[in-house]
């Protein structure tokens, strides 16, 4: 049974002013997250992903539909009965949302106070967490004295304090520079691997999905337009929105503009070879072309790695006898997808 089960959820916020139509923030969303997953939800701002993630710890209630977390229907619980559920779900925020009136220690202590943990046990737990996120020396510093990366590490330590089964990360790296983003993502990955914590990551950056997620859902205008295994989504995106996201970090096939430029420079035939199943190597392609005496030049594309599997699209300009090229392409079609683009 999935640890998070969102079924047919809609969420409509009341209109800002009278007469304005109430636009649904979520429009028929269903989603299953399995225990131990790092589940990425990607979409542009306004796509509804922040609302979606807040359904999981019931900071938002759905207008219709149900949200079941760890077997409990959280969408049906009253605010006072949500305490136990929320203690089992950590949350990390884009703007960190640290308590500025408390030290690093005090921030991590807060959820433990809510949970009613005895002081002696708290002490042990907070020390553990400070070691885990590497902030032992900053224990008594106030948030204002920390860098962005340090603040987010405090945020993560605070979210993990009560050893939750689920961690929600709402654009956790969007306010950080690339170097710090890598550090924080590595930390989240460690959380998933060492504690088996299920993580739901909200982001608008495909790089975040590629680095840590194993499953992904793409959102657009309050709906999930595509979801699945991260490798499948990256190597063979179906929906338009997904293709746009994938193209932000994967160089695949040349777009019409790039193709015109290639055509002008290369008079021969231009062919794209796609390696999508992660197992074939491109050496077979080059061997076949070489054996047939066909001249080739790599003009576009690249090979990508996602979840330790590779895929990619290589566009070659081929020169030689047309019949020989046709014959070679026929043989190559067995190991890679061949598309003649010009």
């Amino acid at each position: 049974m999935p640890i998070i089960q969102i079924t047919d959820v809609t969420k409509t916020f009341p209109p800002r002013s009278k007469g304005e139509a109430a636009a649904p923030a979520l429009d028929g969303v269903s989603l299953d997250v399995q225990k131990g997953d790092v589940f990425g939800i990607i979409g542009y701002s306004g796509a509804g992903k922040s609302t979606l993630v807040r359904l999981i710890n019931a900071l938002e209630k759905p207008t219709t539909g149900s949200v079941v977390v760890g077997g409990v229907e959280v969408s049906a619980l009253s605010e006072s009965r949500l305490k136990k559920v929320r203690l089992g779900i950590g949350m990390v925020f884009q703007q960190f949302n640290l308590f500025t009136s408390r030290t690093v220690w005090g921030n991590i202590e807060y959820p433990l106070n809510v949970a009613g943990m005895p002081k002696a046990e708290q002490h042990v737990r907070i020390s553990e967490l400070l070691h885990f996120v590497g902030l032992v020396d900053q224990a008594h510093a106030y948030p204002d004295q920390l860098s962005g990366g340090q603040k987010q590490r405090v945020g993560i330590a605070r979210a993990l304090a009560t050893s939750p089964d689920i961690l929600l990360a709402d654009e956790a790296t969007s306010a950080l520079d690339p170097e710090t983003t890598r550090e924080v993502l590595a930390l989240l990955k460690r959380v998933n691997e060492e504690f088996g914590t299920t993580i739901v990551v909200i982001t608008h950056e495909m790089e975040v999905i590629r680095s840590i997620a194993n499953r992904v859902a793409v959102m657009e205008k309050g709906r999930i337009v595509e979801s699945g295994d991260v490798f499948d989504i990256f190597s063979a995106p179906q929906a338009e929105a997904t293709k746009r996201f994938v193209s932000t970090i994967v160089t695949s096939v040349p777009d019409p503009v790039a193709l015109d430029a290639l055509r002008a420079r290369h008079p021969g035939r231009i062919v794209t070879f796609s390696f999508a199943d992660g197992s074939t190597s491109q050496s077979g392609v080059f061997l076949t072309l070489g054996d047939a005496g066909i001249g080739f030049e790599l003009v576009y594309g690249g090979i990508n790695e996602v979840q330790a599997r590779t895929f990619g699209h290589l566009t070659l300009a081929l020169t030689g006898d047309d019949a020989a090229i046709d014959a070679a392409l026929q043989r190559i079609a067995g190991v890679a997808t061949v598309t003649e683009v010009a």
Binding site: K83, P111, A161
Partner: protein
């Protein structure tokens, strides 16, 4: 000047009275204003105890009474003072009126300062399972403490200002001293003696407020 020296015992007594009047009014008004301000904050739309009716009523009450000029307000609440503190004149009636006026003024200051607390911080507290009253005590008030201290300092100055109309209902204090012995008897030296003491008093409180707020906000 000789007259001032003769009046020195009265002057010192007036300083004591002002401290007593303003002190009690700030204590009572400060506490009630804090509660009223919290009520306004937590009941407003989107807040932790959102309630349209409670907010509407509190907002109406504060908006109605806060803008009344104090010199009229103190006369208008005289009947109420008779019921609550048993007298419509003298220092106790004055303290009653000041405390009431301070309550309304402080409630707005408190509400405004609480609104400067980042909503995300409140959300973070909710996300770990903290309930609304626990959040008020452990997050909301500590996060807004610096601005709140400055707000209370500001109101202290305003209440000292308002306390000067004491003479109207037979109360004492520095304001009354300046009017009675200085202004009415054409003795500017006496008036100015009271003025200087008020300035020093307010400066001291302002310095203390700034110092405390800075200490709290530096972290």
């Amino acid at each position: 000047m000789e007259r001032l020296i003769e009046l020195l015992p009265n002057l010192w007594e007036s300083v004591g009275e002002t401290l007593y009047i303003v002190g009690i009014a700030m204590l009572v008004g400060g506490l009630l204003g804090l509660l009223l301000g919290l009520g306004l904050y937590v009941s407003r739309k989107g807040s932790i105890l959102e309630n349209r009716w409670v907010f509407g009523i509190l907002n109406f009450v504060v908006n109605t009474f806060r803008p009344i000029p104090f010199i009229i307000f103190i006369a208008a609440v005289q009947p109420l003072a008779r019921v609550v503190v048993g007298t419509g004149i003298g220092n106790n009636a004055l303290i009653f009126g000041l405390a009431l006026a301070a309550t309304f003024a402080i409630s707005r200051i408190v509400e405004q300062n609480l609104l400067t607390v980042q909503p995300g911080v409140i959300e973070a507290a909710r996300s770990v399972g903290a309930g609304p009253f626990y959040i008020i005590a452990t997050i909301l008030l500590p996060e807004a403490l610096g601005p709140l201290i400055l707000g209370y300092t500001f109101i202290f100055v305003a209440v000292t200002d308002m306390s000067a109309v004491a003479g109207l209902i037979g109360g004492g204090g520095l304001g009354n001293f300046a009017i009675q012995y200085g202004y009415r008897l054409f003795n500017p030296t006496v008036t100015w003696a009271a003025v200087i003491i008020i300035i020093v008093l307010i400066q001291l409180v302002q310095l203390l407020g700034n110092f405390l707020a800075r200490r709290v906000m530096r972290r």
